[in-house]
């Protein structure tokens, strides 16, 4: 089909559109790679910077950023760059894990709603409405409280607050697919449900799912940082970025600006990187550009 169409189009208009689409894809690929590299760099920093830099060094406390301590030191002389990197790692891993589980939950429930009949659909939709009717942060506080604080409570809270939107999208996607041309044709041709599911539905839903998953990460990370900042979540000896910023807040009047500015900036960069990654992966996976 594609071949016949391409030959029918005059060459003059094919070239410019191909060039545009090509550089569009290239641009998306480049940005996605850069974002991924930035994230890898942070993970590397978090793992490779030696723990010795985390040791208290009371003689070197409260120093502004310098060559030896690019993010400065805190009130115990600990290197803020190492603390931030490790804190980001914790937030990143926690957020990523929680987001992944959330996305899987969304996939399961969204698919169930779209394929298992009206009752299930109504039940899931009602559940989605329920979870969306309480502000995210309030629900996170509630769930964290229910689990007595700690990383577990935060992770479960994030899992339970982020699945609704993605579930809605997946449900809509699958419902649309079910009514589409080639699905109906496949059915009439007698193909089994499993074949339809894996052969036709999955390739269409998977990209949406992956993109949704990646885009869930920044939200999860931001929420994790927020809840930890408020005081729920990890205890202070396992720092996550939220705790680092909460402690920085206790030193604002002392003029030690590097305690708050730099870790927050690093968090912003991480979240933005994920956003870029997700958006550009979506652009790359978009069937319109894929089937040129």
């Amino acid at each position: 089909m594609n071949g016949a169409g391409a030959q029918a189009r005059p060459r003059a208009t094919l070239m410019p559109s191909a060039r545009r689409a090509f550089s569009g894809r290239q641009h998306a690929f480049l940005t996605a790679t850069l974002a991924a590299l930035a994230l890898l760099a942070i993970v590397a920093a978090g793992t490779l910077l030696p723990d010795s830099r985390l040791a208290t060094d009371l003689a070197a406390r409260n120093q502004a950023p310098s060559l030896s301590n690019p993010f400065g030191t805190d009130w115990l002389g600990r290197d803020m760059l190492t603390r931030t990197a490790q804190g980001l790692m914790t937030s990143l891993l926690l957020g990523a894990a929680a987001a992944s589980f959330s996305a899987l939950l969304a996939l399961a429930l969204g698919a169930a709603a779209a394929t298992l009949g009206k009752t299930v659909d109504v039940a899931v939709s009602w559940l989605i409405d329920l979870f969306l009717s309480v502000p995210h942060l309030v629900l996170l506080i509630l769930i964290s409280f229910a689990f007595g604080g700690g990383a577990r409570g935060v992770a479960i809270g994030i899992v339970l607050t982020h699945w609704p939107t993605l579930a809605r999208v997946i449900r809509a996607e699958i419902l649309a697919l079910r009514g589409s041309e080639f699905i109906r044709v496949s059915r009439r041709l007698g193909r089994s449900n499993l074949h339809i599911a894996t052969g036709h539905m999955l390739p269409h839903v998977l990209p949406q799912f992956l993109v949704g998953l990646v885009l869930l990460f920044p939200h999860a990370i931001l929420h994790e940082a927020a809840v930890t900042f408020l005081g729920f979540g990890l205890p202070p000896h396992e720092p996550a970025v939220g705790i680092i910023l909460a402690e920085a807040m206790m030193h604002l009047s002392t003029g030690r600006w590097w305690l708050a500015l730099l870790p927050g900036l690093a968090l912003l960069v991480v979240v933005r990187a994920f956003d870029l990654l997700g958006d550009n992966v979506r652009a790359l996976l978009d069937p319109k550009t894929a089937h040129e």
Binding site: D129, L130, L132, S133, V134, P135, H136, L137, V138, I141, L142, I143, S144, F145, A146, F147, G148, G149, P218, L222, A225, A226, F229, L230, G231, F232, L245, A248, M249, L252, S253, G255, W257, A260, L261, G264, L267, L268, V271, R272, D275
Partner: protein, 335 residues
């Protein structure tokens, strides 16, 4: 006659369905919250007594538990609680030693000033930015605005608050560090100018973040309008781009923008929680956090219910607005 009749029935059905939804929603939220608090390992008596609890005897602890009804089985507590809830009694807050309803009303009044200001500002500025971006789409201005909005969407709200605090309150000393009124001043001596000064930074924090979604949404909608047939005809007639926007575009994107604003009460509340924490602003957000940290079960339950109602109200208004918009105001209606 029959036209009015059917419309009345339609309105009543709509209202009834909404009320039913609210009722089931509240019941579900209450049950869920209550259950979550029940399974919590946090000992509310412990949380209540706090650091002084080095010095409180077991008899005293039992007395406190009894005072707050914590020694009864959960099912019974839930029933008792829903019964008193139906009578308008939300219980007494452990931290504030006052009825929960009083605390919520007081705190919400403070938050209303904050959220209302931020909501309005972010709505107005977000709308303006979105319009400008659409007008100059493709240019540097548009890209700058898009970049700004996308960066804002990745910014932790509480970090932004900390930055504003550092710059304006600590470094420049122009605005106060926090709270809602100046230190050491009797309640009746506080002027509205004082209150405004304390409101500026938290409201600014909330608004700056809130600008992003509305700007991007408005931009997209306006671009769609400007790509419509009507706009094409208008351009063909020689109208300027700005003219088209003013005469035709604005009215078609204003309502979707407003609808979006009302639909984002959930994010607004969440943002308020963070802003109030950074600025020690005594609003409902801060009360919720304190309730969660100190195990103040009645207040936390009350706050959850209240925030649900708040979000529901926003969504209801958004839904109403949407029905008003559709279908009579679609941009393609012939002249």
């Amino acid at each position: 006659m029959t036209g009015w009749g059917t419309r009345m029935i339609a309105v009543l059905t709509y209202l009834a369905s909404k009320v039913f939804r609210l009722a089931t929603l509240l019941i579900a939220v209450c049950a869920l919250s209550f259950w979550l608090m029940h399974v919590s390992p946090i000992d509310p008596v412990q949380a209540y007594v706090g650091a002084d609890m080095m010095l409180v005897s077991p008899e005293q602890r039992a007395e406190i538990a009894e005072r707050w009804g914590l020694d009864k089985p959960p099912g019974e507590r839930f029933l008792l609680w829903t019964v008193s809830l139906a009578q308008g009694d939300l219980g007494t807050s452990m931290i504030h030693r006052q009825p929960v309803s009083t605390v919520i009303v007081e705190r919400f009044a403070a938050s209303l000033a904050l959220m209302g200001t931020a909501w309005t500002l972010s709505g107005v500025f977000g709308f303006a930015l979105g319009v400008i971006a659409a007008r100059f789409r493709g240019t540097l201005t548009d890209r700058a605005i898009k970049w700004y909005c996308l960066t804002l969407a990745s910014t932790p709200a509480f970090w932004l608050g900390l930055l504003l605090l550092m710059v304006f309150a600590v470094w420049l000393g122009l605005l106060p560090m926090g709270l809602a009124s100046p230190v050491g001043v009797l309640a009746e001596d506080v002027t509205w100018l004082d209150r405004l000064r304390h409101l500026v930074l938290p409201a600014l924090t909330l608004s700056i973040i809130g600008v992003a979604p509305i700007a991007l949404h408005t931009r997209q909608k306006l671009i769609d309008v400007l790509a419509s047939d009507y706009a094409l005809f208008a351009r063909a007639r020689g109208e300027s781009e700005t003219g088209i926007i003013i005469r035709h575009g604005l009215r078609n994107v204003a309502l979707p923008a407003l609808t979006l604003q009302f639909a984002s009460f959930s994010e607004l509340f969440g943002g308020a929680v963070l802003a109030e924490q950074v600025f020690s602003y005594p609003g409902i957000g801060q009360a919720t956090v304190q309730a969660g940290l100190h195990g103040d079960v009645p207040l936390l339950l009350g706050a959850v219910i209240f925030s649900t109602l708040f979000v529901f109200a926003g969504n209801l208004i958004a839904d109403l607005l949407y029905r008003v918009v559709d279908p009579r105001t679609q941009a393609e209606a012939p002249a």
